[in-house]
């Protein structure tokens, strides 16, 4: 099995540690991972802003980079969802169809392709899961609170196996954090208010570390947390699943983001 690793543009530039954790985790799981050097962005920023046509070059570049892999794995539900849902704007060649079918968010890949749950991680903190919307309602990585279906969550299934972790229950289990791409800037007031409320929910419920499948949500929340000097940390789920911290220190991983 040959896996192509896609590291979203903002992770590559702003949160490289999430990319490292993803790669290390996959290698621990004995997956043959290659990181194609010509990759850039999935095209979502332009498309969600109403300029889908300007994203075609990015889509084609993505497909060219990943067409030869059995699977494409990425530490982002949002990017994986974008490739699956919105790559209908380019010609549907066999390569494009294959890429759209085989792109996976990291947890989804571990649970449903590798079919492993016990990853040998330890992370002795009280963790609140932020269920990033595109992963939840787009990729269906878990049951959403609106639907009447049997409850499940791939993310929580993996986290429950982490040694020392305590998963906290939130008042609103899957409300959006307010990031929303350019929404964070064009609707900055509501965006910030949504984030603020989300953070309060985590604080109210004793969370020490917020985790999510998407760094974009975490970047927004972390921006507010840092600005308001709140006692919370954010960690991408790959960092927790790749963690071997046995005993609690002031800052998980010993360093701040």
């Amino acid at each position: 099995m040959k896996v192509g690793l896609f590291i979203p543009c903002y992770i590559n530039q702003l949160y490289p540690q999430v990319g490292k954790a993803t790669l290390e985790l996959l290698e621990k799981l004995k997956v043959e991972v290659v990181y194609p050097s010509g990759q850039t962005c999935c095209g979502q920023p332009m498309a969600n802003s109403g300029f889908e046509n300007e994203s075609e070059g990015a889509c084609i570049n993505f497909v060219n980079n990943f067409k030869d892999f059995d699977y494409i794995v990425t530490p982002s539900g949002s990017c994986a969802y974008h490739v699956k849902k919105h790559y209908n704007i380019i010609q549907q060649t066999d390569e494009v169809v294959k890429v759209r079918k085989n792109v996976y968010e990291l947890c989804d890949f571990i649970v449903n392709v590798l079919k492993v749950k016990q990853l040998g991680a330890s992370f002795p903190y009280k963790v609140g899961v932020h269920k990033s919307c595109h992963g939840l309602r787009g990729l269906r990585l878990g049951s959403s609170s609106e639907l009447v279906t049997a409850p499940y969550s791939y993310i929580e299934a993996l986290l429950k196996e982490v040694k020392g972790i305590e998963l906290m229950t939130l008042d609103r289990s899957d409300e959006c954090c307010g990031f929303g791409g350019t929404f964070a800037v064009t609707e900055d007031v509501v965006s910030a208010k949504m984030g603020k409320d989300k953070i309060q929910d985590h604080l109210r419920n004793g969370v020490e570390v917020i985790t999510a499948t998407d760094v974009s949500c975490l970047m927004h929340l972390e921006g507010l947390i840092t600005r308001n000097k709140q006692p919370l940390q954010v960690r991408h789920i790959a960092e927790i699943l790749n963690s071997t911290i046995e005993s609690k220190v002031a800052h998980p991983k010993g360093q701040k983001h």
């Binding site: 949160y15 540690q17 064009t186 509501v190 208010k193």
Partner: protein, 460 residues
């Protein structure tokens, strides 16, 4: 004004935003509890979706069948291509019957057609009889929610409003007293009304009947007392069979408020002895929306308001921030079809979180339609120069890996090196309320390359 500007105004009072958010979240939560009691809820949604899709594909057939059956029942049927025609028809009926005083139960269609100001300009008194609608009417405002029209007002504001208009005593917002006074006031209006206008929730093609749902019984009070009943409906309110009500009434009440059934689901079929019944069937842009394959499912809407209650933006921006008859997510996919430029910011008043689509009882793909409107707006309406240019530039950078590497290196050097005060200042809107992440020495790209090179060196 753009949605974000109006939302900014609403957010000046954070306590009010919190209260608005919590009030509507409470309704959403009640809805959750209630739908989880229904076995086969998702199947019910599938049925609702299917019946609506079928009906919209045979709209002409069912509308004509409905008209024929309504005529047989002794109801007069009128067709209006747009809001103006609708208003003229209603006014014509009122004039013919020398009606000067009208009571009206909740109808978003008549709001959409701006019926009230039209009738008032023609010396006709129109009283909205739904309590929430009466409140906004007295305040000279628009409803801010389709099911809870005055949800943006608290009880103290209502207290003041009633003192001013209904002569009530100051009561510190005592809901019991205020509703009691409203009831007395409205009963007077019901008794003296010459005509009653109602909306229509469902019109049944096979028998020409229609159903009006209210929790206050105000549609019944109006229609049963007045000599003339005018029911106004959009073309999409039609359902083929009586038995389909079993699907929609169950979906509607639970989705709207978490009630198992609306308090009054009143079935109207024919006029009482010596009274008249009229139905006005209105298009007003619906056929055009039906002709747009990507957006036709927006006409499935049964006006339950669940997408508003669940929408994290609506709850924090208030219904008036949409500046449209139908606010919230469903309004944001309906309004651009009416005026693309005026409503061009609405499809962007969303994070595309998808909660609206999952909560919708008739499975309208609301967030997908928001995304699709964005594409049309990007192409067909004037866009800010900077947005257009930056999108084109990003498009180019992301199609060329070599260019992307250089730009990225500059960006994270800047984040690492420049002082926070500079980074977070104007024009960085992000930085108004949020810090930017700390830049790292190496991008993932660079780290990976270094690692690969080290591996090669090790192998040597």
């Amino acid at each position: 004004m753009s949605h974000s500007k109006l939302a900014g105004i609403f957010n000046k009072d954070e306590k009010k935003v919190d209260w608005h958010d919590k009030a509507l979240w409470f309704v959403r939560h009640k809805r959750d509890l209630s739908v989880h009691e229904v076995k086969g809820w998702e199947e019910l949604r599938n049925l609702g979706h299917g019946i609506k899709a079928h009906t919209l594909s045979h709209l002409d057939v069912y509308l004509e069948q409905f008209e024929a059956n309504a005529l047989k029942n002794g109801v007069q049927v009128h067709w209006a291509a747009n809001g103006d025609e609708h208003n003229q028809i209603v006014h014509g009926i009122l004039k013919e019957n020398h009606a000067k005083k009208v009571v009206k139960s909740k109808s978003m269609l008549t709001e959409e057609c701006h019926l009230n100001p039209f009738l008032e300009a023609n010396d006709i008194e129109v009283i909205d009889t739904d309590l929430g609608e009466r409140i906004v009417q007295l305040a000279k405002e628009q409803p801010s929610h389709i099911v809870l029209p005055a949800i943006h007002k608290n009880k103290l504001e209502v207290d003041e409003l009633f003192q001013e208009h209904l002569g009530t005593k100051p009561c510190n917002g005592d809901p019991q007293y205020l509703t009691g006074e409203a009831r007395k006031h409205l009963r007077e209006k019901f008794i003296h009304a010459d005509a009653a206008i109602t909306g229509v929730n469902f019109a049944i093609a096979e028998n020409g009947g229609f159903v009006v749902c209210t929790n206050e019984g105000n549609a019944d009070m109006g229609a049963h007392l007045a000599a003339v009943h005018i029911a106004c409906m959009g073309v999409e309110k039609i359902i083929p069979k009586q038995e389909h009500l079993g699907v929609f009434l169950r979906l509607l009440a639970r989705s709207a408020t978490g009630q198992p059934i609306t308090t009054y689901s009143s079935h109207f079929r024919k006029p009482r002895k010596d009274t008249k019944m009229h139905i006005v069937i209105v298009d007003n842009g619906r056929s055009e929306q039906l002709s747009r394959p990507d957006f036709r499912a927006s006409l499935h809407c049964i006006r339950c308001g669940a997408c508003m209650n669940t929408c994290p933006i609506y709850r924090r921006s208030g219904g008036h921030s949409y500046d449209a008859t139908i606010p919230g997510p469903i309004g944001s996919i309906l309004s651009p079809g009416k005026d693309l430029t005026k409503y061009s910011t609405l499809p962007f008043a969303s994070t595309l979180c998808g909660s609206c689509s999952d909560v919708c009882p008739v499975k309208i793909d609301i967030h997908t339609q928001l995304y699709k409107w964005r594409q049309i707006i990007g192409k067909e309406t004037p866009q800010p120069f900077i947005k257009k240019k930056s999108m084109a530039a990003m498009g180019k950078i992301f199609s060329k890996p070599s260019l992307y590497g250089k730009v990225g290196a500059v960006a994270h050097w800047a984040l690492r090196t420049l002082p926070k005060s500079l980074i977070n200042s104007w024009p960085n809107i992000w930085g108004k309320t949020r810090d930017l992440p700390v830049g790292h020495k190496q991008s993932f790209d660079q780290w990976y390359k270094e690692r690969e090179n080290n591996k090669k060196d090790d192998q040597k």
